[in-house]
């Protein structure tokens, strides 16, 4: 249940302009032993990542100020090892394609179940373990 208990806890960044998504995910992943930061403003979120990079970034796609694809581009630039999971209420295949070519780890349509996001994050964590 507790992930990364042997080493540094994984750092998780959640960006969604609807506060409830961040609140809920924060609650869940804190319980699982992650260090979680939740933001509703993507610009501030990316600024936070510049200060202290994250292992995993979960971001909404359509947001004011900066969209999820731009978030993807920026956090990958800060730390190419960061795994980015994009969540969105507007699941469109062309966006998905763009996201995948930008190096997105996974793409989850909203609304989603807890175990779907948990599963994606656990896969991202084990994927990172493979980085060596």
């Amino acid at each position: 249940m507790v992930v990364g208990s042997n080493s540094e806890p994984r750092r998780l960044l959640i960006i969604d302009d609807e506060a409830i998504v961040g609140k809920r995910l924060n609650q869940i992943f804190t319980k699982m032993g992650y260090v979680v930061e939740a933001h509703i403003d993507p610009v501030q979120a990316v600024a936070a990542a510049e200060q202290h990079p994250f292992d995993i970034v979960v971001t909404d796609l359509k947001m004011q100020g900066m969209d999820g694809l731009e978030v993807l581009r920026r956090v990958k630039k800060i730390n190419p090892r960061t795994r980015v999971i994009i969540i969105t209420g507007y699941a469109e295949m062309d966006t998905a394609d763009a996201a995948f070519s930008g190096g997105v780890f996974d793409f989850i349509p909203k609304p989603f179940r807890l175990d779907e996001i948990k599963d994606a994050i656990l896969r991202a964590v084990s994927d990172m373990a493979g980085d060596g």
Binding site: I20, L25, K31, G89, L114
Partner: protein, 840 residues
């Protein structure tokens, strides 16, 4: 399935009636499919409430838009089936739809225009209209069914109406901008309220309600008039900032209401609010309650504010009405009780009472001098835990007991216990859980999220709810809706069998009882009495117990999920979508004008659509059966088949054997009919009296029979079957739709007629009634007419019912002439049930 009405060639020749029937049936199937789509969307919304889904407003918006659109289509198809007999449904439906859109857009909802709100409509999500106190009281009275003195609430709309009629907002804002001294401000504002008049319409609705309450038997002589601010008792606590009055006579209530409203602008509150806060902010509702003649009163904290982690709750009590306790003038008795059933007392500090001896008992508790008895304390503890579960927060509850020792809850509000330092971190809790033995893991479906612990108690639908210990973990084989009351009392509910879309699952979300259904073997793995920790999110049950953080929801600085604005909007939407008010189609209230929620509209439309279908058969409009092929089967009856699509295999010509039937429901009925054991082929003992009574029957029997009288007829499609049988002396109709979508499935069974004497016929009807009820039918019996319906069950369940119906038809064929005494009913019933049980 798609080729039903277009591609495949009907095996029976359709006459004109057949063609019309196809059209009607097409609409009917559209209704089924739309119904199902809407119910799935509703189920998704309900799931979201259970915490398993992460959702946002755009999800709510798209769901509601879809539900409205599809609901409207259902109404269209019902009207197309019935020649626009239900055109009025459109208007009613539009009104419900408009309310939904209004709530989504942040509007006040259907009760927005009401100056005064009756208790029946109040719930936790009406804070914007009824204020915090009114909304919480509504929730505990209406949803939790707890006793609270109920009167009415002057809504924030009523308040605004009062303020605007007297031009108070503008004039107060003027004072606020000119005068900076708080004392001067409030004096001038008070003068405005003194001169203000309650507008006639508001005074009218207030007085009407006061009169009604006073006229009730034992009607109240005095009222409590309390502030119920928006925000009071909520996020920002203005507790004690507003004024409340008790012991007010009816005639003085309107004046007291104005004084309570004025306290919104008291010096204290003006100091408390931001200096530039406008007069329209922090609107005020006013709760009016009849006063209880209290013998004793007090306060219950569901956690000890001094030691929140101590698993105890604290009750203080004084003789009388309790104001002195609340205002701190008298300390009264102070007791602490375990938070766990059966709520043993832990400590007691009893105030000295003259004339009653008191002494210290061997367990350190002083005995005999308490203002209230242990029974009352335990009942209060139960209420406390239920309220805490509902609001997902420790609660601060004011209560009293009347002369008959009945407990009344006067108000409840969140108790903010802060546990800096001693608070367990989420990770520490997870670590603690990982040390416990796992009894069950990774099994079952999440119905309602939650982490809780308690002792296991096995229950079934016959367990009396009031014997179920509050706070225990209920473990049941089935998710039977009869467990609803136990769900309310339980800390968690675990079942072997059951789905998160079922009725009981909805109830777990309604009561916010953590629930995991369909684990397969919880009854085996969780023996009664075991202390367990249930973590629904992880779908894991541990043996043992952990001390959960005293403030589970504020645990780690999080707000309770149920208190989030999105959750509140979702619940308000669901209240107009999910509840079913039209339950009994036989009741006179099952009518168009009583459709309120989306579910009502769907239920009504579905019921009427089924009726249209059956009426069509009974009306005799169905013709042309003569050319339909006969079924070849080893049963002593002839059945003609009309295939309206996919009911028979496509091969032309040849004998119509049982194997060629592809209609799902008809295949199951045939399975039962073909069961040799069910047929009793010996000639029935037939008396002269039976024969004579039979002679007078055929005309009445045939009143409703269609043109194919004398023939047995099956109208079938891939998922549909309408079977009309004249078996011996009986006339049966089975109308059934069977598919993988449980919500679409139904069986309608109608049984009438018979040649035997009246009492024998009736005995046979009693027998059928009993058997059908055992098969989950809803049965209605009038003399020897039996009407039975089974709906929305899983396909496998429906299949076994249809098979048993087939057997039953064969089995009861001549029973009425054999049933010489009423004991025969029991004997036949037993015999038949044995047969049913023999099946796997």
């Amino acid at each position: 399935m798609s080729s039903i009405f277009t591609g495949s060639q009907p095996q029976g020749r359709e006459g004109e009636g057949g063609a019309t029937f196809s059209a009607i049936f097409r609409h009917f199937r559209r209704i089924l499919s739309l119904n199902n789509q809407v119910l799935e969307m509703v189920a998704d919304l309900e799931f979201a409430l259970g915490g398993e889904y992460i959702y946002d407003r755009s999800f709510l918006k798209s769901s509601v838009t879809g539900i409205i659109e599809k609901g409207r289509q259902v109404i269209y198809h019902l009207n197309a089936m019935s020649g626009d007999r239900y055109a009025r449904l459109y208007d009613r439906f539009t009104s419900t739809g408009d309310h939904l859109v209004d709530i989504l857009a942040g509007g006040l909802g259907p009760y927005g225009p009401f100056l005064v709100l009756d208790w029946e409509v109040l719930h936790r999500d009406l804070v914007h209209l009824a204020g915090g106190k009114g909304a919480n009281l509504g929730e505990l009275v209406n949803s939790l069914k707890m006793p609270a003195p109920v009167g009415f609430v002057v809504s924030t709309t009523g308040y605004r109406h009062f303020m605007e009629t007297n031009d108070l907002f503008t004039r107060i804002d003027q004072i606020l901008s000119k005068e900076s001294d708080p004392v001067g401000r409030s004096t001038r504002i008070n003068a405005l309220f003194m001169k203000a008049k309650v507008p006639g319409d508001l005074a009218g609705v207030i007085n009407k309600r006061l009169k009604k309450i006073c006229a009730e038997p034992g009607g109240a002589k005095f009222f409590a008039v309390r502030s119920s601010g928006v925000g009071e008792d909520g996020e920002r606590s203005y507790a004690g900032q507003f004024q409340s009055f008790i012991g007010v006579v009816a005639g003085e209530v309107p004046a007291a209401i104005v004084k309570v409203m004025a306290s919104r602008f008291s010096e204290r509150l003006l100091r408390y609010l931001e200096p530039d806060s406008s007069a329209e902010e922090v609107p005020m509702a006013v709760v009016v309650q009849p006063m209880i003649e209290a013998r004793a009163a007090g306060v219950l904290y569901t956690r000890d504010p001094i030691a929140p982690g101590s698993e105890t709750m604290v009750i203080s009590a004084v003789a009388g009405r309790g104001e002195e306790l609340v205002s701190g003038k008298q300390s009264g008795d102070r007791l602490s009780l375990s938070r766990h059933h059966p709520f043993f007392p832990v400590t007691s500090h009893l105030a000295p009472v003259t004339g009653i001896p008191s002494g210290r008992g061997e367990n350190g508790l002083r005995r005999g001098a308490g203002v209230v008895g242990l029974g009352v304390l335990k009942k209060l503890a139960e209420y406390g835990l239920l309220l805490e579960k509902r609001f997902e927060m420790p609660q601060d509850i004011e209560w009293c007991i009347d002369g008959e020792e009945k407990i009344w809850i006067l108000q409840t509000r969140p108790l903010h216990v802060r546990t800096y330092g001693e608070c367990k971190t989420p990770a520490a809790l997870a670590e603690e859980l990982s040390q416990l033995p796992v009894l069950l893991s990774g099994q079952g479906h999440v119905c309602q999220l939650g982490l809780t612990c308690g002792p296991v108690v096995h229950v079934d639908e016959n367990t009396p709810a009031d014997s179920f210990p509050i706070g225990a973990v209920a473990v049941s084989r089935y998710a039977n809706p009869r467990l609803a009351e136990i769900v309310r009392r339980a800390a968690a509910v675990i079942t072997d069998i059951g789905s998160p879309t079922g009725h009981l699952a909805t109830i777990t979300r309604e009561y916010r009882t953590p629930a995991l259904f369909g684990t397969g073997e919880a009854t085996r793995l969780l023996p009664p009495g075991t202390e367990v920790v249930v973590d629904v999110e992880e779908r894991t049950i541990y043996a043992g117990r952990v001390d959960l953080p005293p403030d589970m929801c504020e645990f780690g600085g999080f707000e309770p999920l149920a208190g989030q604005p999105e959750a509140s909007i979702l619940r308000r939407l669901l209240r107009l979508i999910a509840p079913l008010n039209l339950i009994d189609p036989g009741s006179p209230s099952f009518k168009l004008d009583n459709c309120q929620t989306i579910h009502d509209f769907l239920r009504f439309s579905h019921e009427r659509a089924v009726a249209e279908l059956i009426d069509f058969h009974l009306s005799g409009r169905m013709v042309g059966a003569k050319g339909a092929p006969l079924l070849e089967a080893n049963i002593p009856l002839k059945i003609r088949l009309i295939d309206i699509g996919g009911g028979l295999d496509g091969t032309p010509g040849g004998a119509m054997t049982v194997n060629r039937v592809t209609s799902l429901p008809f295949r199951q009925i045939l399975r039962g009919l073909l069961n040799e054991e069910a047929w009793d082929r010996e000639p029935a003992p037939f008396g002269v009296k039976d024969f004579l009574s039979g002679l007078s029957r055929p005309l009445t029997m045939l009143t409703h029979t269609p043109n194919y009288a004398g023939e047995n007829l099956a109208i079938i499609a891939d998922n549909y079957c309408n079977l009309s049988l004249r078996l011996g002396y009986h006339f049966n109709i089975i109308d059934s739709y069977l598919s993988d979508e449980a919500d679409d499935n139904y069986i309608y069974f109608r049984f009438v007629g018979g040649f035997a004497e009246n009492d024998k016929r009736e005995r046979r009807a009693v027998l059928i009634d009993q058997i059908l009820s055992g098969l989950h039918f809803k049965v209605e019996r009038k003399g020897d007419l039996v009407l039975a319906k089974a709906k929305m069950l899983e396909r496998s369940h429906m299949e076994s019912i249809l098979t048993h119906l087939g057997e039953l038809i064969a089995f009861t064929r001549q029973l009425d002439v054999k049933m010489a005494d009423s004991g025969a009913v029991d004997r036949f019933f037993t015999t038949f049930l044995e047969r049913i049980r023999k099946e796997p």
